[in-house]
Symmetry: C2
């Protein structure tokens, strides 16, 4: 099988090297992705992360693996100031402002997130656990960390003891941060006094009276720290050590660094064999994020109703735009790049239509042409296996598209290609485009067809009138009316509505 020829390599953020991927269990891949904090509309940053790891998952499945893909929903514990761990819970604050139960906020934005991910053709994860649904599991991990001596309690809150941890363990190994430097650069902020050191992070916070989301624990009525949920849920559904952990680069520190410390603290082992981080989407050079306030939501992209958008961009255009860059490269938002993506996407996707009609009768084999097509096809696997290089894979798919169009237009003679190579090229093109990259025809095509059909009928009606064949022209107008299409003749020509 062709797919076994290619070893997948992954740039591991932990070692900062490209490594051959070796799953813990052959044929099975465990993937955990940090999902959204559901207190606002999904934006392009969320889309990039979800699309990146959707493609990772799809490619492993395409190669014949079983993948358990866990993508969580953060519905509790994510405070406004992530680093200082101060301020209100993001979900609670939204609930307070909108006078709703926090879980109503969670439901609203979880639904919107799922809807957007669905529109972008991201497959749903295998498991979609929530932080608030795993309080008991989080308490258990805190207890273990306490038992192992890596955390301390102050007035009902539990903090991870980074000072102690960094003496024997390598804190900062993922992000390259050095604890001493961090400590030096941090001013003390109100309320942090109870921590022994400013970068110790909360595992459990005692709830202030105004804090709505709260649970009983052995230490206080409170809520879990933000970093803890991912350790609890990834351990529960993928094991103490699993294959791949994904997330945006901005989560490396402190979130993922804390996950490593928690796992070592609770289970004495590294949680993840391959850490993968997608780069950011920038707008005017700054990271697009909810907290920075410079984001454009997916819905705004799809509707085109944001001052920075010159037009609407369909979900598939957005997906294509994101996949045109390798996941480790930054992407800068621009209308021109999105417009180019729109054209590129249409060109590729329209090629799918010609494939079923492309007849192929091999006659005289031309070794050179045959090898060229086979190598071009194989390059799709090579690029995808090379740290999921969707940018280069798309380039190869464009070349394949040109070949198919040339076969169709007889500019190239397909009879010189062997049946095997021809079939391989076709199957790969379809598989890579639809199954791996998740690009598919959009409903717009259906509306387009309706518009094209009506335009053709209007044209025929004009021709009939020009010939004074009023029987036909009236029939067209009346029959259209019967099936619900109204024509209106005006100075600008004939308009229609339905």
């Amino acid at each position: 099988m062709i797919t076994e020829k290619y070893q997948v390599t992954i740039h591991n953020s932990l070692t900062n090297q490209k490594e051959v991927f070796k799953p813990i269990q052959k044929g099975y891949v465990g993937v955990y992705l940090c999902g959204p904090t559901v207190y606002g509309d999904p934006h392009l940053g969320h889309a990039r992360s979800a699309i990146t790891f959707d493609v990772v998952t799809r490619y492993f499945r395409f190669l014949g693996n079983k993948v358990r893909y866990v993508r969580n929903i953060t519905d509790v514990g994510h405070l406004e100031d992530e680093v200082a761990e101060q301020g209100e819970d993001k979900v609670s604050k939204k609930a307070r402002l909108e006078q709703l139960e926090p879980m109503e906020i969670v439901q609203t934005y979880t639904l919107r997130y799922r809807e957007a991910m669905n529109q972008l053709n991201n497959l749903p994860p295998s498991i979609e656990p929530t932080a608030s649904g795993h309080i008991l599991e989080q308490i258990k991990i805190i207890q273990r960390i306490l038992d192992n001596g890596w955390a301390y309690e102050v007035d009902g809150s539990i903090y991870f003891d980074l000072q102690k941890y960094s003496k024997s363990e390598n804190y900062g190994e993922l992000s390259g941060k050095i604890l001493e430097e961090l400590q030096t650069n941090t001013r003390d902020t109100e309320g942090q006094d109870e921590k022994q050191h400013s970068h110790d992070f909360a595992l459990w916070k005692k709830a202030k009276p105004e804090h709505i989301m709260r649970w009983e624990s052995p230490w206080s009525v409170g809520f879990p720290g933000w970093h803890l949920e991912c350790t609890a849920m990834s351990t529960k559904y993928l094991g103490k050590t699993f294959d791949i952990h994904g997330g945006g680069m901005d989560l490396q520190f402190p979130h993922h660094e804390a996950e490593i410390a928690q796992s070592i603290g609770a289970h004495g082992c590294q949680p993840v064999n391959y850490w993968m981080h997608n780069n950011m989407i920038t707008i005017d050079g700054a990271k697009m994020s909810k907290s920075a306030g410079n984001f454009i939501t997916t819905e705004e992209f799809f509707a085109g109703n944001h001052p920075r958008l010159e037009q609407a961009y369909s979900p598939m255009t957005v997906r294509f735009f994101i996949l045109q860059a390798h996941y480790r490269s930054p992407i800068d938002f621009s209308n021109s790049a999105l417009q180019a993506a729109e054209k590129g996407f249409k060109k590729l996707i329209n090629t799918l239509d010609i494939l079923p009609h492309l007849s192929h009768q091999p006659k005289k084999l031309d070794e050179k042409q045959d090898t060229e097509l086979r190598q071009l096809t194989e390059s799709c696997y090579e690029f995808m296996s090379d740290d999921f290089n969707t940018a280069k894979t798309l380039a190869s798919l464009f070349e394949l598209s040109s070949k198919f169009n040339a076969f169709k237009n007889k500019q190239l003679d397909s009879s010189k290609i062997s049946a095997e190579t021809f079939e391989f090229a076709k199957k790969t093109f379809e598989g890579m485009l639809a199954d791996v990259l998740g690009l598919q025809k959009e409903a717009e095509a259906e509306n387009q067809l309706t518009d094209d059909l009506i335009s053709l009928l209007i044209e025929l009606r004009h021709e009939a009138r020009a010939k004074k064949d009023y029987g036909t022209s009236d029939k067209i107008r009346d029959d259209l009316n019967t099936i619900g299409v109204q024509l209106k003749d005006g100075k600008q020509g004939t308009e229609y509505s339905y």
Copy 2:
């Protein structure tokens, strides 16, 4: 405001009487519905329950109330033998058979349930909590019940003490069951020995070694009893006593009876002011259910691929079919009834199209006609307010539809109706149909248009040929081909594909 004229009455299963609905807080309504156990595809029985309480929720909102609608997902604790509380957990068993993590099963069937509910145009609930996500809350309620002396522990499992409870409390008040009779009629089954009495029900079960889903508790590593989750989640999101609890009639006993006992046991109060139970869907006289094995899934209805189905029935046809009966009446499955529903739905929904084009110039008021139309319109509110009688409301909407069609065809003279009444009738028709009953045009209409347009073009091509106008007939074929529609002439006439 017209909507304030009508008091909603509800048949309360607890008192077995129709009562005027009085919310705990004016303008706010809390509704809890027992959602699905997610280990199989949703079927018509699930659809009925969800549609019934979707309409309850929609109507309260239509009348200007805020509704918090909680519909849970049962993902743990529902054992195969519900009454004897024996056998495997339903989700775990499916997971074992399919060699998946139980939460992968949960995700699969939760997604299918949500998708089906969405197709049926049920609005998503305000909160969609899961049983496994509320273990801590359940443990807390067990502790309270134990503290209050209503439960006992045997070897790490906790059972509700019905013998003791029924001495001072009215066990069976909802279902009319009498404990002594229940006890007499029950044979002892294996494993029930540890209960003091056979109808005591489990609050917490110690997990057997093979039981996958398990959590730590003060009593054992185990899992909550099935009845407990609804008490925990309704209390958390709606309060110790809330307005309306819904569910299928089959849940009255033992599930809802147990919920009452648990609430009284833990909080000393009735949990629910109005219990509402929808009747069953029967097939050959027997209740349609997963456990009985005689169910037809919603997907099978929509696709028409079940031996009992003569054709496919669209989601809106199924919704209309269910709403044609009052929720407290049984519905017997039959193809003829569904076919009638399909016609009825189309007639009503097509009336929506004529409303915007219905011009109205009031001239000479005819008091009798005006009053007739106003009363007919008001009857929609009267019927909906009368224990949500969708059957009678639909009948009124049909009459309104006939009026509108008669106005359109000039069989009735709309100029004799006052502007106010005319507007009231139109707004009510649209509001009741779309907002309250949740009936809407289906995408099929769009495909239908495409097919109609192509058929018209084929007809024009035949006419052109008959006239030997080959220029036009060729143009039609070629232009269709360009926009992606292929014609194929055969003995049966011209076929097309796109």
